[in-house]
Symmetry: D2
Subunit: 234 residues, 4 copies
Amino acid sequence: MYITVWNEYRHEREEEFKKVYPDGMHGAIAEYLRAEGFDVGTAVLDEPEHGLTDEVLAKTDVLFWWGHCAHEEVSDEIVNKVYRRVMEGMGLVVLHSGHASKIFRKLMGTDSYDLKWRESGDMEILWNCNPGHPITKGVGDKIILPHEETYGEHFIIPEPDETVFISWFTGGEVFRSGLCYRRGRGKIFYFRPGHEAFPTYYDPTVRRVLKNAAIWAAPEDTEKLTYGWVPATV
Amino acid sequence: MYITVWNEYRHEREEEFKKVYPDGMHGAIAEYLRAEGFDVGTAVLDEPEHGLTDEVLAKTDVLFWWGHCAHEEVSDEIVNKVYRRVMEGMGLVVLHSGHASKIFRKLMGTDSYDLKWRESGDMEILWNCNPGHPITKGVGDKIILPHEETYGEHFIIPEPDETVFISWFTGGEVFRSGLCYRRGRGKIFYFRPGHEAFPTYYDPTVRRVLKNAAIWAAPEDTEKLTYGWVPATV
Amino acid sequence: MYITVWNEYRHEREEEFKKVYPDGMHGAIAEYLRAEGFDVGTAVLDEPEHGLTDEVLAKTDVLFWWGHCAHEEVSDEIVNKVYRRVMEGMGLVVLHSGHASKIFRKLMGTDSYDLKWRESGDMEILWNCNPGHPITKGVGDKIILPHEETYGEHFIIPEPDETVFISWFTGGEVFRSGLCYRRGRGKIFYFRPGHEAFPTYYDPTVRRVLKNAAIWAAPEDTEKLTYGWVPATV
Amino acid sequence: MYITVWNEYRHEREEEFKKVYPDGMHGAIAEYLRAEGFDVGTAVLDEPEHGLTDEVLAKTDVLFWWGHCAHEEVSDEIVNKVYRRVMEGMGLVVLHSGHASKIFRKLMGTDSYDLKWRESGDMEILWNCNPGHPITKGVGDKIILPHEETYGEHFIIPEPDETVFISWFTGGEVFRSGLCYRRGRGKIFYFRPGHEAFPTYYDPTVRRVLKNAAIWAAPEDTEKLTYGWVPATV
C-alpha cells in the first residue's frame, strides 16, 4: 500500500509552529506511518502541481489531506484529479481543518466548511462510538488530548455512513470527530484533531487511528463495470 | 392525532421524586401536550394490561414510553402488541432510560441497554446537529439542562437514520441523545433527557422537542400492500 | 407553498416530442400541480438567468428539475444559487435525466451521470419499497409504465437516506428510481421516470408521486444557528 | 478464520431436492469454502443444540444460516446465543429464506418474514450496485441464475447500511438481494438466492459472493469497553 500525506505546509514554517512540527505535520505523520511499515510519500501545496502529479496520484492507495488557510490556493484541476481517484477507489483521510477543503466539500455536497470553533486550548476527549470498527482497533474507550482547538456542532455534513468518534471539549461543545463515507469506489474518513499548535500527531493513540484509517481506506481490487448504452440483457 | 403517554410510574410514588413530579412524569408530559392542543391519554405499568388495551393501542397515533427499574415487568404480550402497532405506522417516542426497555431493544436489535451512566447532577447540553429537521424547530443551537443524569458512549445502537442531538456532560462524557429510526411503517425517536430526580420535562425547550417529536412521528395514511404468494406481474 | 418547475425545454420543441408534451414537460407538470392547489411557476433554460432569478429562487419552496442534452449550458452561477437555496432548506425534486445535471452532481459528490441506458420502449415497473413513506401515499404496490427509457444499475450515488422505489425493465435491468437525500437543510428526491418520448408525466400515479414529493420536500421553518468563532459555553 | 455453515436440512432429505444437493446445501457450501482454504464446520437443526454448542459458537468467526420450513423449531435459547455472538463480533451471512428466521428478525427488529414470492423458476439477475465493495470482488456487472424462486418487494427491513445487489425476475419483480448491516460489533450480510430446488450454490459467481461475504463479515480484534456506572472523566 502506498500512502501520500498531503499538507498545505504554511503554518509550520512559522517559528511558533515549527517548534511543534519541525518537519511539518506531513513529516510527523509520514515518519510514523513509515515506521509502521507503510510505503509513504509526502506532497505539499507549494510544490509544482501541489506535489500531486498524475504519477503520484496513480500510485497512491490512500491520500491524507491537511489544509487550513490556503484552501483556495489549491487548483481546481488538482482537486478534480483527486476526486477522480476517489471515484476509482483511492482512500482519502481528511484531517482537522481539511473539513473546509475543496476536495472534502466536493465529495460531501454540503457547506462542510461551517462549524463553531475556538482556539482556547480546551481539552478534547474523543469517545469511541464504534468498537468493533477497524478504525477503533487498539483505541479503547477514548482518546484524551490535553489541549486542542475546539470545534462545535452543527457540522454541515450528510448523515455519516458510520459514526466512529464524537468529541467533548472543556468549554461545553461536542463534535462528530471520526466519520466514514463511501463515495464512488472510494472510502473517506474525516478525523477532527490536529491543530498546528499542538503535538496531536505525536499522540500514540491518534497515530494508531491514522494507521487504522489507512488500512480501512485502502482500495479493494475492483473491476470495470459497463456504463452507457446497453442492449437488453434478456 | 391521539397521543398515549406511557410511564412505568414507580419512582414518582416515592416522596423524593413525587416532589418533582406530583402527577408522575406522564402527568407532566400529558398536561403540556394537552395544552398544545393534542388529544392525550396516559397509561402506566400497574394498570391492567399496563393501560395499553387493544382499544387504546388501536387509536394511538404516537406512544411515548418512559421506563427504568421495571422493564422486566412489562409483559411480552403487550410488548408484541406495541411492536405490531409500530410496524403498522404508530409513532414511538422512547424517553431516557427507555433505551433499555423491551420494546426499544426489540426494535433496535442490539444491546441498547448498555451504556455509561452516573447520577451526579452534571450539566447536560444537548447540541442541535440537525437544523431544518422538524424535531429541532424552535430549539436553536442547544438546550442547557443545569442538572441531569449522565449517559456516556458507547451506546449500542444501529447507525441512526438521522442524528438530531448530541449531549455534552460536565464530567467529560458525550451521548447521542436525539435519534430517528424508521422501522416498518413506524417512526421512532429516542430522546435522552428525563431522569426522575430533575424537572427536565418542565423545561420549555425539552417540551418543544416532545411536541415536535409527536408531530414528526405521527403516521402517514398508508395502504395495504400485497405480501405472500403472487402471480407473475408481466 | 410555491413550486417552480424548471425544464431544459429543448426536446419538446421538436415535432416528435411536441406531440407528447405540447406545452413542454414543465407545462404538463405545472398544470397538474396547479390543479392540485399549489402555487406554481415555471422556468426554462433559454430564459434570462434560466428563469431562476434571485427573486424566483427566494420564493421557491420546492424546485423541480428536468434536464438532459444541455446540462453544460446551465451556468455555474445559477447552479451555485440553487445549491445555496438547498442548503437553506429549499426542496429539490430531480427528474429522470436530471441525474446528470450539475446541481445533482454537486449535491451528491459522485459521478451520478454514469449508468446503463437504452431507448427501447421497455415497460418499467416501479416497486414501492417504502409503504408508510409520505412519497408513496396513494401509490399502492407499484406503478406500471408501458413504455419508458431504460436505466440500469450501477447508479453511482451515495447510499440513499431512504430508498422509495426500485424499477424493473423488460430487458432485464433494475434501477433505484425513487431516492431521498437530506443535504444541508434541504430535502432532495430523485425520481427516475420521464423520458421526453413518453407521456409519463400524464400518468395519474406518477403525478401523485410528484405531488407527494413536493409536500415531502417542502422546507421546515428553520432558525439561524451560530457558526464561526464562539466563546466557551460553560 | 473458522466458518460454521448452519442449515435446517429438511428439504434436501426429500428425493426431489436430494438430487440437487446430495450432501445438503450446507454440504455444498462447506465443500466450496474448504476448497478455498477456509476452516469450515457444519451444523444442522436436528443435531443436539442444533449443532451450535457453546464450543462451536465460541470458535465461529462467521456463521452462515439457511432455514425455511422449520424456523419455529429453532430454540430461543440457541437464537439468543447466536445473537450474543453477533453482538460480540461474529459475522452472520443469512441466506435466502433465512430472511424469516428468528435470528434475522431479532437483529432487524422488523417483519422481515413478509415479502412477495413465487416458485415459478423465473430467471434471476442480481445486479452489482456496489462495485468497489469487498463483497462484489470478481463479480462483474451481474449474476445470472437461469432458474430461481422469485422474491418481490416490499421487503420489510431497516434501510440497509449498504445495498450491494438488487435482483430482477422474469415475472416483473425486483428485490434487494444483497444487503449489509452492522449490529453491535457484528457484520450481517443478507444474500437472497438459494432455493432448494435449484443448483444455485454450485454457481461459481454465487460461490465467489459467499467467499467474499465470509471475508467481509469476519470479526475485527476488539477490546472491551466500559459500560455501567462510571466516575467523572474530568
